[in-house]
């Protein structure tokens, strides 16, 4: 457990020591901030529940998660520190999970400032405050965390498979797109209702919208938790196999 915390802390520290993390942080806050401004200015109705904000965060994830995860293993492999790491008395699975929680922690920290937006609405627009209720905020953010967990695990798998960070980022981005746009293009996907159902079931946007309305669907919980576990398991195997 001590090893885990040491690795986790080092991963988180490495995030804050790299310029990429700050660029991502700025990008994320800029886009969500502008998105919020636009939502409020154009049509407060979208802020009915916090669906609008969730959609903006959802779009940012598609860029931030591949970039944040790409370095986890690819960089260590390229610099050779992978060798010192893997010859220390630590289990492969400890390394993978510690890195996973390191990146996830960073992502969660990145999301925290966006909690200000619903707060601003509650304080400054009392007439619609009842629309931004704590339950939908909690369930919306919980879903953001779940989705992030699954994709951070996916990004680490991609990073473990290559020593090139760009390849890792782009493959993560591509696979994430399936989940992201699966539901969005649902009507155009296919005439076959089964394919459309699968597209809808995989769609992160729909899951987020639902949960941001305060309706929490256990099917998405199962989907993202099992995806997280699967990708982490595959990442451990990838680390083992690359020896």
């Amino acid at each position: 457990m001590r090893t885990f915390f040491a690795l986790w802390r080092r991963e988180l520290a490495a995030m804050f020591l790299s310029p990429i993390a700050y660029v991502m942080l700025m990008f994320f806050l800029l886009v969500t901030g502008c998105g919020f401004y636009w939502l409020v200015k154009e049509n407060l109705e979208v802020m009915r529940s916090i669906q609008g904000l969730m959609v903006v965060i959802w779009a940012c994830m598609l860029i931030t998660i591949p970039v944040l995860t790409m370095r986890t293993f690819a960089e260590e492999r390229k610099n050779g520190t992978f060798e010192t790491m893997m010859t220390a008395p630590v289990k492969d699975s400890t390394v993978v999970t510690a890195k996973f929680f390191g990146v996830l922690t960073f992502f969660i920290l990145m999301c925290l400032p966006t909690l200000l937006y619903p707060l601003i609405i509650r304080l400054l627009a009392p007439e619609v405050a009842h629309l931004v209720d704590p339950v939908s905020i909690a369930s919306g953010y919980f879903m953001v965390g779940l989705i992030a967990a699954a994709f951070v695990a996916l990004g680490m798998l991609a990073s473990a498979l290559t020593s090139n960070q760009i390849i890792a980022a782009i493959s993560t981005f591509s696979i994430m797109s399936i989940f992201f746009f699966g539901g969005l293009f649902e009507p155009h996907l296919s005439k076959n209702p089964m394919v459309r159902d699968i597209g809808g079931y995989l769609s992160s946007a729909l899951h987020l919208m639902e949960s941001a309305r305060g309706v929490f669907d256990s099917r998405s919980l199962v989907l993202y938790l099992s995806a997280t576990v699967f990708f982490l398991f595959a990442a451990v195997k990838a680390v083992e196999a690359r020896r």
């Binding site: 020591l17 010192t84 010859t87 630590v90």
Partner: protein
């Protein structure tokens, strides 16, 4: 301490390490030699459990490296070839982090860190960022890292590669100090390094161990043929012919030095004929100003062993 049996590693298309077996006892200092691409690094990576072998097993201090990797790694301090470090961390931070993941007890981390910093001459650079340190200092950080958990066995892959002569001397001195307390396996292709520090040499070529002995007995192996060097004044043609007739002399070649002097190199397959050369010079009335047995350096040994190996290979 180390027991390697039938270790083989195949990569796609070629065999990097081919059925290697050897044993290293506690307290030994082993030099691991071989030309580039002979399989040194691959072997060391398997010893540390970083690479998995195609066949064979490695036992470190009684633990199988591949079945009980965590326990085995506790006994190993390993410094990889290019000495990779987290360049964005400070020296102290890095050593603390490494001590934590190596399972050094919480209370001892600080003291262990201070000890290894002292040992490796890092006391003044604790606050410096690793990326800003010179190559020599980084090498020391790598070495300090490998010593943190006070391992029984140190495996150093080319610890002096890329250092300037001064730094090489420092690192070598450090290694010699470490040798007093640890079992040491170090790879290098710088031969004087081995000659100065190691008590046994393993030579690997094309993935096979071709020699395993002390430097002295390896030298003896070659003493079958002696190389005698002498400087005599006189007609080179006559002298050369006379020297050749001394018996058990294979080749004589000479080099003119001026003022009538020439240097002769005599390759003879035992016994030592220096006395005969002297007597011969006295009886013929030659002037002789130098006569000595050239000792074979480790370099000669290395070259001839690798050559022997290549020769037997081609014969097959």
């Amino acid at each position: 301490m180390i027991k390697v049996s039938n270790l083989t590693k195949q990569f796609a298309g070629y065999t990097a390490v081919d059925d290697v077996s050897f044993e290293i006892k506690r307290g030994e200092i082993i030099g691991f030699l071989g030309p580039n691409g002979a399989g040194k690094t691959t072997t060391m990576r398997m010893l540390t459990g970083f690479l998995h072998p195609t066949r064979g097993s490695v036992e470190i201090a009684g633990c199988d490296v591949f079945e009980d990797p965590i326990e085995a790694r506790r006994h190993i301090g390993y410094m990889p070839e290019s000495c990779p470090l987290y360049t964005e961390m400070r020296v102290d931070e890095y050593l603390k982090f490494r001590a934590q993941i190596k399972g050094v007890a919480r209370k001892e981390i600080r003291s262990r860190r201070d000890i290894v910093k002292e040992q490796c001459g890092l006391t003044d650079v604790g606050r410096r960022i690793i990326g800003q340190l010179s190559k020599g200092y980084r090498q020391r950080v790598g070495l300090a890292d490998s010593l943190l958990h006070d391992p029984d066995l140190l495996i150093l892959d080319e610890p002096t590669a890329g250092l300037d002569p001064n730094q090489i001397r420092e690192v070598r001195e450090l290694i010699r100090q470490l040798a007093e307390r640890h079992t040491l396996l170090l790879s290098t292709h710088i031969l004087p390094e081995v000659e100065m520090t190691c008590r046994r040499i393993l030579i690997i070529n094309k993935g096979k161990i071709v020699a395993s002995d002390s430097p002295e007995s390896l030298q003896k192996r070659l003493e079958g043929d002696l190389l005698i060097s002498t400087e005599i004044a006189g007609d080179p043609g006559v002298i050369e012919a006379t020297l050749k007739s001394l018996g058990s002399v294979d080749v004589v070649d000479h080099e003119t030095l001026g003022e009538g002097w020439s240097r002769y190199r005599i390759d003879s397959s035992s016994p030592d004929i220096r006395a005969q050369v002297f007597e011969c010079a006295v009886s013929k009335g030659w002037k002789l100003r130098e006569l000595h047995l050239e000792s074979r350096s480790l370099e000669d040994i290395f070259v001839s062993i690798i050559r022997e190996d290549v020769a037997t290979e081609t014969k097959r």
